[in-house]
């Protein structure tokens, strides 16, 4: 029985003759909310993108639920950073969420009634039903984040991978997003989040991975937040860590 949602073995990513990630090996637990943390420039987003194949690693073996990504793509939902999206793009909330129902092997198919129901369910779960026909630029930060979450929900994936989803989001929205994530976890889904804010790690995550261009440490949250472990990752920059966003 597969105990891990993601297994990473010897992942190395080079970027323009510089080493972004050096020989990272880690196993992320099934059915838990995992946080990837580390200082700015520590390669957290690169780690995410390399695992998902968005960026090509120099070496490394990645397994999802014991299989290669190609075998389980439908089960992996990617939620990108909000700042990487063009919010002026002519697209509605509904259309973004409908991307969750795409199937590369049958992209010509019309949207089925079943798909429509799943999309509406996803919208309802994040409370965006009334806003579904708005252009995405017309939403607040928290609402925008929920659009991407709804897309991941519509995909009905077992693993949701998110890149700094709480940046620039008001506290109320952060809470509501967290609640949805916790519900998903309780249903058995796995969630991996690249996170920017040390102060919320204890409340959000069950498992923590500390990166600093290499693996510093990985383990249950309680163990990870010892000062010595944090110092190895953050070094002197820990002095400047605050609840402010690093983006």
């Amino acid at each position: 029985m597969e105990k891990h949602c993601i297994t990473v073995e010897n992942l190395q990513v080079n970027y323009h003759q510089q080493v972004a990630l050096e020989s990272v090996s880690v196993e992320l637990p099934l059915g838990k909310i995992t946080g990837i943390i580390g200082p700015n420039g520590s390669g957290k987003t690169t780690f995410l993108k390399a695992i998902l194949g968005i960026v090509t690693p120099s070496t490394g073996i990645i397994r999802f639920f014991g299989e290669t990504l190609d075998q389980v793509r439908q089960q992996v939902a990617y939620v990108p950073q909000r700042e990487s999206v063009d919010w002026d793009f002519p697209i509605s909330v509904y259309d973004v969420v409908s991307m969750g129902r795409l199937n590369p092997k049958r992209w010509w198919q019309r949207v089925a009634a079943e798909d429509l129901r799943i999309i509406q369910d996803a919208l309802a779960q994040v409370n965006l039903t009334e806003l579904q026909h708005r252009q995405i630029g017309q939403l607040s930060g928290g609402q925008q984040q929920r659009v991407f979450l709804a897309r991941a929900l519509a995909q009905q994936a077992s693993l949701i991978v998110m890149d700094e989803p709480f940046v620039g989001v008001d506290i109320a929205s952060q809470d509501s997003i967290l609640k949805v994530l916790q519900t998903l976890r309780d249903e058995g889904k796995s969630i991996v989040i690249v996170h920017h804010d040390l102060s919320t790690v204890a409340t959000y995550f069950d498992y923590v991975v500390l990166l600093n261009n290499k693996l510093v440490a990985a383990g249950d949250t309680k163990i990870m937040l010892q000062p010595e472990t944090l110092a190895k990752a953050y070094g002197h920059s820990l002095l400047f860590q605050s609840t402010a966003s690093e983006s």
Binding site: Q12, N14, Q17
Partner: protein, 291 residues
Amino acid sequence: MGNGLIIITALLVALPASLLGVFLLMRKMVMVGDAISHAVLPGIVVAYLLTDSRDSLPMLLGAAVMGVLTTVFIDFLNRRIRIQQDAAIGTAFTFLFAVGVLLIAFFAGTNTDLDQECVLYGDLETSFLDQRIWNGYLVGTGAIFQLLPLNILVLAVIVIAFRPLTIWAFNSDFGKLLGMKTGRWQLLMMSLVSIHAVLSFESVGAIMVVGMLVLPAATAYLISNKLIVVLCISGAIGILGCVVGFFVALWLNVSIAPTIVSICGVFFTIIWSLQWLRGERKVIQTSSASN
């Protein structure tokens, strides 16, 4: 003698272009420079029709204003009409250029000096015919007399205002923090680009201007990161491109202006491929080191 005058004219077009182009490159405004060189066409045509000559100062000023108005127009399309940046540039300059072409077509019958293709190619080959004689000595051509002040102006501006220009080019936000009126520097540089475009039209035509703006500057930027070095290399490449391009054009019996740009393009490609090959070797070295 004619050859010498032609080369000098070409140099006087290429030098300010290669210098101004460095700043456009830094500010990611290269295509705006391209837009300006197209957009000045209607201004030139109108001024020409009104004053019936190609030499007058009002024409120059009018067309320079036209160039600055283009940046304002693009900005207007971008911010007020909310068209995205690249579409705003594309819309602005094609419309203005179209208007210019139509004006030429309307009045081509009466004014044989206006010619659609001349607008593109320029007329370096015959520019030496417009000679200025003073006290029996040949002192230059009409084109040279127009371009020389521009060259002096551009060099003067760059030398005198080097510090603030560097800040404007590399770190505009920082400059604003210091209280620098970055808008003014932008206006100044865009005005120089417009004046250059107008003056160069006659010699090298519209399309060549963008080539001289971007190619020497980009080549220099591949070689160095320091502004002063980039400016020097860019200027040198512009000059070299003119000389080599001129002789190649003579040899192949083809139009001079596009040959000059093509040669600059060859320089760029050579420098780029050298750089790329060097980069590839480094990658092979680092990956074999880590294995």
